[in-house]
Point group: C2
Chain length 289, copies 2
Amino acid sequence: MVKIACLGIGLMGDPMARNLVAAGHDVTIWNRTRAKAKAICGATVADTPAAAVAGAEIIISMMSDGHATLAIQSESELRGTLQHGQIWIEMASIKPAEARAQADDLTSFGVAHLDAPVSGGTAGAIAATLAIMVGGDAGTFASAAPILSALGRPVHVGPSGTGQLAKLANQGIVGITIGAVAEAMLLLEKGGANPAAVRDALRGGFADSTVLQLHGARMTDDDLDARAKAAIQLKDMNNIMDEAHNLGLSLPMSADIQTRFKTLCCDMGLGGLDHAALYLELLARNPKD
Amino acid sequence: MVKIACLGIGLMGDPMARNLVAAGHDVTIWNRTRAKAKAICGATVADTPAAAVAGAEIIISMMSDGHATLAIQSESELRGTLQHGQIWIEMASIKPAEARAQADDLTSFGVAHLDAPVSGGTAGAIAATLAIMVGGDAGTFASAAPILSALGRPVHVGPSGTGQLAKLANQGIVGITIGAVAEAMLLLEKGGANPAAVRDALRGGFADSTVLQLHGARMTDDDLDARAKAAIQLKDMNNIMDEAHNLGLSLPMSADIQTRFKTLCCDMGLGGLDHAALYLELLARNPKD
């Protein structure tokens, strides 16, 4: 039984906190808009981040972005409660440089830091099957892994910031694969094949993926209500290209897909649709005859 | 028990013919270089394609390419043996237009035709777990499906030529996904993450695929001996772009990846390596500092 503070009780943070309670931990929750945080049976509600963090062994932040977490970390009241030996785990998807800045900031208080963004969505959070990509010190990871295992499958991928880098790599593969599947679906439709039958035929083969099955169906069924917004995919591609720039890397496909999501979101105004709506950008390049 | 002629007993055709024998069919095999065809217990060896085809209910061709099959179909001796009601199943990967030409040619003899290319490689052929993408008449598919089921999982995807189109879509997704994974692996390596750990962390998520796990490992382990040659991937990309041109389609990612496999195979001279060697083309764009 570990004393855990959970900061940010939103769509992801809520089921994660519930799973920590279910695992038998002593959980204190805090949310910026207190009314938005549903009551969680067995968890204590704190009025401030400082009150939640005080005395906690593990602090898990799952705020909207890196700025939100850093704002909390900067509060003097909270800084006064930080204690040597605490572990702060940032589970939101933020920039690798922001994660490293968080870690550096906390070091002076003797607080260890892990960046541990997740993949799997709210369904994965509820089922405690999240993929958890963890950057930071190996010893700190070893201490935190048993707690993270109540939320999904934690894997240590390298030093501070690399958890976020892994998440970016994940998002980049998803974005480009959506582009690949869009071209395949268009080729099949225009060539007179049944795309749904082809998706079925390809199941289990080298071309198969969740993106082929789910996003491919969203494209050819014109079912583009957002499960994950195109605007968020654009933000991810922007972060990937920022990181590539920082590292001096040329990533031609990531650059192309960034440009095309920008066209979709900014020029076509469709950033509120699902990221599978990149199909519409491809269709716009292929006017009907 | 159906009388089946198998034309082309190579790496794929050999295990396929064996599985048809094992399913209890009366199988006659023919191979251009007779010595290359290993004896298959329970199958009859024919001296000519015509002798194999004579009296067969089902003819399965698995030659090296569309030209090879069309050359056999054009032999006057073989044409003299064709009978109304026979079904010719082209299982090699050929161009959609070649498949339609085969079908048209056979129609005048009352011979039905299916184009049924496969995915899954020799391992899938041996295990009878091939993905079989079938184009052609629905009634003909219904007749042939029980036989094809001895080789894997047949799915009817549309009219004549669409089986080949589905195979092209498969190859295009694979080629582009290799490009996506290459950029992710490079980003992770240069950013200080452990790519093998990240591949493990992403298992089962939205970015996961056989290409991420297998080809990603080939890239970062520098294990680029050919399981599928880059030169064949280039041929596939050329066929996709030919088909896109015929259909008047703009497929920007397929076009880019075609250009890059051409650079890898023609300018860098590495077409004999695995298609995961596209990573080397990406590295060449990113000179070491």
